[in-house]
Symmetry: C2
Subunit: 665 residues, 2 copies
C-alpha cells in the first residue's frame, strides 16, 4: 500500500481564491415559474409594473360619494341633505354621475363615480328614503385612494436577486403577474465513496455501514437553494469513482463527493480527473481541522468538491466552504441567511494551531437570548456526537486555545435548528422520555434535549454547568442511600437542589421463560451465560459492581477476579432499551435494567431492588421558566397516572417533584 | 343595502378558546416518505435503532492491528518488530487472525481482525519488507470504535415531533432507514372573495383589481408546513361563496377565506355556513385592530378562517392567530420557529385602546444585533406599505400608546425576512438603483432597501433617524444652490454630512417627435396639454413649482392661478419611471423627469437644468460598515463608468463620494 502524504496545504482563503481563478459562483440559468410555486425562489430580473395599482380611484370606506363643496359647513347641528341617486357596489363600473346636490352610496373598494371628489363614511350619515343627511363636512380626496397612488405604471416594484417570501408574492400578485422569472436551482450531484458504504433500506453485509453522507449533504444542498441528484455509491476504485463523477458532470452543475477514499486510490484518481477536463484538481489539502483532505477541482467550468468521510466533519466543511458557493449559484446571498448565535464557552478548548479549527458544539439555552456552547464530544466517526451538535465554532490559525467564558459565534448547521430549552443529562430512563413527551404535549414550544451519559455523567454536567437537569440513581453502599452522598462528595450541596423523581424496579432482564435459569449474580459467572453491561458511570453499573463486590466478599475472592469470569462485562450498553434489545436478539443472555424495558420487549424480569431516580438542578436555574415547566409536569397528576401505566415497575411517590435535599434559597 | 354591525367582539384569547371547544389543532395523519424527500418534515413516531452503529468493531485510523501486550515497552529507543501477515481494506471481512508476534495492516473504517485488540497509527511505525517496526506502545481498545458504541440496537434515536434538518437525516441514515413516517401536510383551501377581484395573468376589466391575498396566504400556508389548494375567486354572492367553501371542505382540512365580503352578503352567509355542518360560525368579530371582522368557524371538525381583505391586515391576523394552529396541525411547535426581533421604536405610536393593536413596522439595522422599528405607513389598502413591512408589533388592549424609545418585539412575517443593512430614503433616482445593484454585485450579503419618499421625505427621515441615507436634489431659489440651505433649515448642519452624489440632466419628457410641440413651462397651460406631476416634497416638484412661480411673476399672475390652468397638476407620480410611463402610454403629454428615463422609454427629452443629486448621512452612522460600503461603491471607478453608460444624462464629477458639507468629526 502506498500512502499519499498531503504535501501542499493552503488556507481556506487561498483555496477559495484558487477556485475563483477557474470558477465564478453565479446563477446557472433562469426559468419561469408560476407565482404559486415561487415561494423561496430568487427573482432573476427587475420587475416593473405594467399597471397602476389601484387601477382606478376607489373608495377606502363604505359611505357616500359626494362633491366636497356641497357639504361645506355640515356638522351635527347643521346637517346637510343630499339626494341619493344610486348605489355603487365594488367591481361595478359607475353608470351615473354625481352632480351638485346628489350623492351615490358606495362600497369599500368600489370605483369613485364621475363628478364625486370625496367619500363620507356611512357612520356620519343618516338615510331617510332617498335623502341622505350628512353630519360632517369633507374635503376633496377624503377616503379616496387614487389610481396609481400605490404602484404606478412603469415603477420598479422589485429588484433582481430578491428572495420571494409571502410578502413579495403579494406585491407581484398586486401587479397581476401569474408567472415570474427566477434563477434555476443549480443541480448538485452527490456521490459517496468507500468499499464499506451500503445503500439505505437493505440489510447490511459484514463489514458494511450505511451511507450517511448522501442524506446529510442532500439536506444541506436543498437548504442552500439547490437540487440534489444522487449518483449512488462508488466502491473505492478509481475507475468506478471516475465513471460516477463523469455521470455527475453531465447531469449536474456541481459534483460533491464524500468518503475516505484510500490514499492509493486518490493518487490515481487525481490524475484521471485532470483528464476529464481542465484544470482538474486544484486544491487537495486545506489548513483546516477537521477537513485536511478536502478536495477542490474544476472540470471545464464545473466545480468538484470532495468532503471528508465523517458526517460531522463533512457537515462543517460543507457549511463553511461550499454552502456559500452553492447559495450564490442559486442567486442567494452567500451567508446572510445562515443562522449564527453568540454563546459563552463553559470549558477551555485546546486547538491545533496552524490550522483553522472547526469545533462542533451543542448549545444550552440560559435565557431567551443567552446561550452556552459546549464542545460536542468528537469520538472518531461518531454519528451520535453529530446528532447533538447544533453547529460549530471557528478558531483561527493563530490561537492555540479558546478560553472558558469566552463569547464565541456559533454557526448553526441549519436555520431549522434552535437550541433546546431544557437539556437533561444523566441516567437513561423511560420515565424521562415520558416527562419529555408530556412537556411537548402541554408546551409544544418547549424543546427538550436528553443526552444519556449515565448518572455520574449527569452529576459532572451539573457541576460544570453543561446541563440544566441531571437524572440520577446513585446508590451509596456506606449510607445505604441514594444520590445525596454523591452530591456532597462533588461539593454540590450548596449550589444545587435534589428533586425527588420516582421509584424504579431494577433487576435482571432475561429471555422469556428464563431459559438459562438465572436467579442471582452468581449465575453470571457460569460459562454458558453471556452478560451485557451498562456504561461506566451509570447508576445501574455502580449498583451491579456493588453486587459483584458483595459476592467477592462472600466468595473470598476479588472484584477483578469475578469480572474476568463474566462474559460480556466489557460490552457497555448506553441505555436500558439497548440492554433489552441485546437479550431479545440473542446477543446476550442477561443484563441489568429497569422492569418496563423487559415487559415492553416481551422478556422476563427478575427483580433485585427498588431504587430512587431523582433530579439534580443548579439553584441558579430554578427561576428559569423552562425548569418550572419541567417541575410542573413532574408533579402533575397526568405524569403520576401515566408513569406506571406506560412503564410497569416505575411509580411516583408522595414526594415526587419536591425538593428533598438543598433549599431553594 | 342593509349593513351588518358587529355586535359581539371577543378578545383573541376568548376567540381561540371558543375555537378549541370545537376543534383541537393536531396532526391530520401520517405518511411514509423516503429520506431524500424528508427534509423539513416532522417525525410522526419514535424511531428506535434495529442495528448497532457501527455494526462491528472498526479501526478509526490507518495503521496496524496488534495485540496490545506485544508492544509493552516499545518506544523510539526500543522499537519492537512484528511480522506483517496481511492487509485489511475497509469493507472486507477479515479472513485471518492476529496472533502474538504478528500484525495486520488496516485501513480507517475496516473491521478489526480476530485476535487484535488495538490499532497503532501508521505514523508511529516503519515497514521493512514483511517486518513492521513499532516506535510506540498501545493499550487495549486504542483506535478501535466498538460495535454499538455510537448507537446501540434498541436505542431510541429520535423522538416523535422532531423536525428533520440535514443533521437528523444523517442520524436516520446511520441506522439504515430508507423511509420514515412523518406527519401529513395539512391541506388548506384558500378562497378570495369580492366582485372586484380578478385572477392573475389576465388583463383587468374596469373596476377590477388583482387577487393579492391568495398568493400571500398561500405563501404563509406553505411556511406553516401545510399545502395550499386554490379554490379560486368567489363573487360577492352567498351561494357562490358557499359552493366554494363546500368544495374546500371536501378537498382540504382547513378553509381560509379573505376579502371584504359585503355586510349584507355576510349576514346571509353566516346562517348558510351553519347549515354546512356543526357548529358553523363561532366567532365573528375580534377585539383586534386591524382584523375586527375576522371570522372563525368550525364545520364538522374542520376549521374555517375568514381574514380581512387588505393584505397587510390579512398577513398580520394570519401570523398572529392562525399560523400557530396550522403549524400544530403540521406537527410543528406553534410558534418556536417564528422569527422575532427586539427593536427600538423611534416614534411614539398611538393605538386604539380596548383592542389589541397589530402595527406593521419596517426595520432599520443599527448594528448587527441592534434594530430600530418604524411604523409602515398604513394607507388604506396599500400594497406598497406591505412590501416594506418586515413584521408587526403588538400593543395590548390596556395601552393607548407605545412610546418613542421603547424596546418592542417585532414578529417577522417570514423567517426569510431579515432587516436591510442600508435603508436609503428620499428622491427616486435610477442612479440609486445602480448603486444598489453594484453593492449587491460586490457585497451580495449586504441588503439595500430603497424607499421613494421624495427629497423632503428623505431629509425628514434623516432628522428622525428613520433612514441611513437620504438621496436629495433640493434647489434653493434664494441662494441658487442645492441641498445645503435645506439642511441648515432643518437644523441638521451639525449632526449630518452631505456627500456629493452626481449630476443629473432634468427636463421635459414628451412623446417621440414632441407632437404637442412643448418647449417651455408656458406650453403646459395650453388646453390640449395634459401634465403628469411628481409627488409633493420631491426635488423635481420643488423645481417645477419654482418654474411656475417664475412664470407667474413674468405673467403678472399668481402661482395658484397657474396651477388651476395645468391639467393633471394634481396627479402625482412617485418615480421618474412612472412619469415616463404615463407619457409613453398616452395618459399624459408631458412630465418633468431626468433624461435617462426618457431615453430608455423611447421618448423625447427637452433639457431644462443640470442638478446636484447628493446624499445626506447622519454623522453617527459614518462608522457603520454598510455605510462605508455605500461610499466605497459611490467612489468606485465602476460606478463612474456605468452611471453615464446606463443612464445617459447622469454623470459623476470630481467630488463624487466626497463630503461637501459638514465634517466627519
Amino acid at each position: 500500500m502506498t500512502r499519499k502524504i498531503f504535501k501542499s496545504f493552503v488556507t481556506i482563503e487561498d483555496a477559495l481564491n484558487e477556485l475563483y481563478k477557474h470558477f465564478t459562483p453565479k446563477p446557472v440559468g433562469v426559468e419561469e415559474v408560476s407565482i404559486d410555486k415561487a415561494l423561496g425562489r430568487v427573482l432573476a430580473t427587475n420587475v416593473y409594473s405594467e399597471i397602476d395599482v389601484p387601477p382606478y380611484d376607489r373608495s377606502t370606506v363604505d359611505g357616500f360619494a359626494v362633491i366636497a363643496s356641497d357639504l361645506v359647513g355640515a356638522d351635527e347641528d347643521n346637517p346637510i341633505t343630499l339626494k341619493k341617486i344610486g348605489e355603487l357596489r365594488t367591481g361595478v363600473v359607475p353608470a351615473i354621475e354625481v352632480s351638485s346636490g346628489t350623492t351615490i352610496e358606495i362600497s369599500t373598494g368600489a370605483m369613485i363615480p364621475p363628478g364625486a371628489n370625496a367619500v363620507v363614511m356611512v357612520e356620519y350619515t343618516d338615510t331617510e328614503n332617498d335623502n341622505v343627511i350628512f353630519y360632517r363636512s369633507t374635503y376633496p380626496g377624503e377616503n379616496i385612494q387614487s389610481a396609481g397612488s400605490d404602484i404606478m405604471m412603469g415603477e420598479l416594484v422589485m429588484r433582481q436577486g430578491t428572495r420571494l417570501s409571502p410578502r413579495e408574492l403579494g406585491v407581484l400578485a398586486a401587479i397581476g403577474l401569474e408567472k415570474v422569472l427566477v434563477y434555476k436551482k443549480p443541480k448538485v450531484a452527490i456521490l459517496s465513496t468507500g468499499d464499506e458504504i451500503a445503500p439505505l433500506g437493505k440489510p447490511l453485509k459484514d463489514g458494511q455501514i450505511y451511507d450517511i453522507n448522501s442524506s446529510v449533504i442532500s439536506g444541506f444542498v436543498q437548504e442552500s437553494g439547490c437540487e440534489p441528484i444522487f449518483l449512488g455509491i462508488a466502491r473505492d476504485n478509481a475507475d468506478e469513482i471516475l465513471d460516477k463523477i463523469k455521470d455527475g458532470l453531465t447531469k449536474a452543475d456541481v459534483v460533491i463527493t464524500s468518503g475516505s477514499t484510500s490514499a492509493g486510490v486518490k493518487d490515481v484518481l487525481y490524475q484521471l480527473i485532470g483528464k476529464l477536463g481542465s484544470p482538474g484538481i486544484i486544491v487537495h489539502g486545506i489548513k483546516i481541522k477537521p477537513g485536511k483532505p478536502t478536495l477542490i477541482g474544476v472540470i471545464d467550468g464545473k466545480p468538484l468538491f470532495g468532503l471528508p468521510g465523517y458526517p460531522t466533519s463533512a457537515a462543517m466543511v460543507f457549511t463553511q466552504l461550499f454552502a456559500p458557493i452553492l447559495r450564490q449559484m442559486a442567486g442567494l446571498s452567500p451567508t446572510v441567511a445562515m443562522k449564527k448565535l453568540q454563546a459563552k464557552l463553559t470549558v477551555r478548548i485546546n486547538t491545533a494551531p496552524g490550522r483553522r479549527n472547526l469545533i462542533p458544539v451543542y448549545l444550552l439555552r440560559k435565557s431567551n437570548d443567552e446561550h452556552v456552547a459546549l464542545p460536542a464530544k468528537q469520538e472518531s466517526g461518531s454519528i451520535t456526537s453529530f446528532s447533538y451538535a447544533d453547529g460549530f465554532i471557528i478558531a483561527s490559525e493563530n490561537v492555540s486555545y479558546l478560553d472558558e467564558g469566552e463569547v464565541v459565534t456559533v454557526n448553526l448547521f441549519s436555520s431549522q435548528i434552535s437550541p433546546p430549552d431544557i437539556t437533561i443529562m444523566g441516567s437513561h430512563c423511560v420515565g424521562v422520555d415520558l416527562l419529555s413527551s408530556l412537556i411537548h404535549k402541554r408546551y409544544p414550544n418547549i424543546h427538550v434535549r436528553i443526552i444519556n451519559t449515565g448518572s455520574m455523567g449527569g452529576l459532572r454536567a451539573i457541576k460544570r454547568g453543561d446541563a440544566d437537569i441531571a437524572g440520577m440513581h446513585l446508590f451509596d453502599e456506606a449510607t445505604k442511600s441514594y444520590n445525596i452522598p454523591y452530591i456532597k462528595n462533588y461539593g454540590l450541596e450548596k449550589s444545587t437542589v435534589l428533586v425527588r423523581g420516582y421509584v424504579r424496579e431494577l433487576g435482571f432482564v432475561v429471555a422469556k421463560g428464563n431459559p438459562k435459569q438465572i436467579t442471582s449474580v452468581k449465575d453470571l459467572l457460569r460459562h454458558d451465560v453471556r452478560f451485557i453491561n451498562r456504561i461506566a458511570g451509570s447508576g445501574t453499573r455502580i449498583y451491579f459492581d456493588m453486587l459483584l463486590k458483595n459476592l467477592a466478599n462472600e466468595e473470598n475472592t476479588t472484584f477483578n477476579e469475578l469480572v474476568k469470569e463474566i462474559k460480556g462485562y466489557e460490552i457497555e450498553a448506553k441505555t436500558h432499551n439497548a440492554v433489552a434489545a441485546a437479550v431479545k436478539y440473542g446477543r446476550a443472555d442477561v443484563g441489568l435494567a429497569i422492569k418496563p424495558v423487559a415487559i415492553k420487549n416481551g422478556l422476563d424480569f427478575i427483580p433485585l431492588t427498588k431504587e430512587h431516580y431523582d433530579f439534580l438542578i443548579q439553584k441558579v436555574n430554578l427561576s428559569k421558566p423552562s425548569i418550572n415547566v419541567f417541575l410542573e409536569i413532574l408533579k402533575s397528576d397526568e405524569f403520576k397516572k401515566e408513569l406506571p401505566k406506560q412503564n410497569p415497575g416505575l411509580f411516583s411517590d408522595e414526594k415526587t417533584g419536591e425538593i428533598i435535599f438543598g433549599t431553594n434559597m
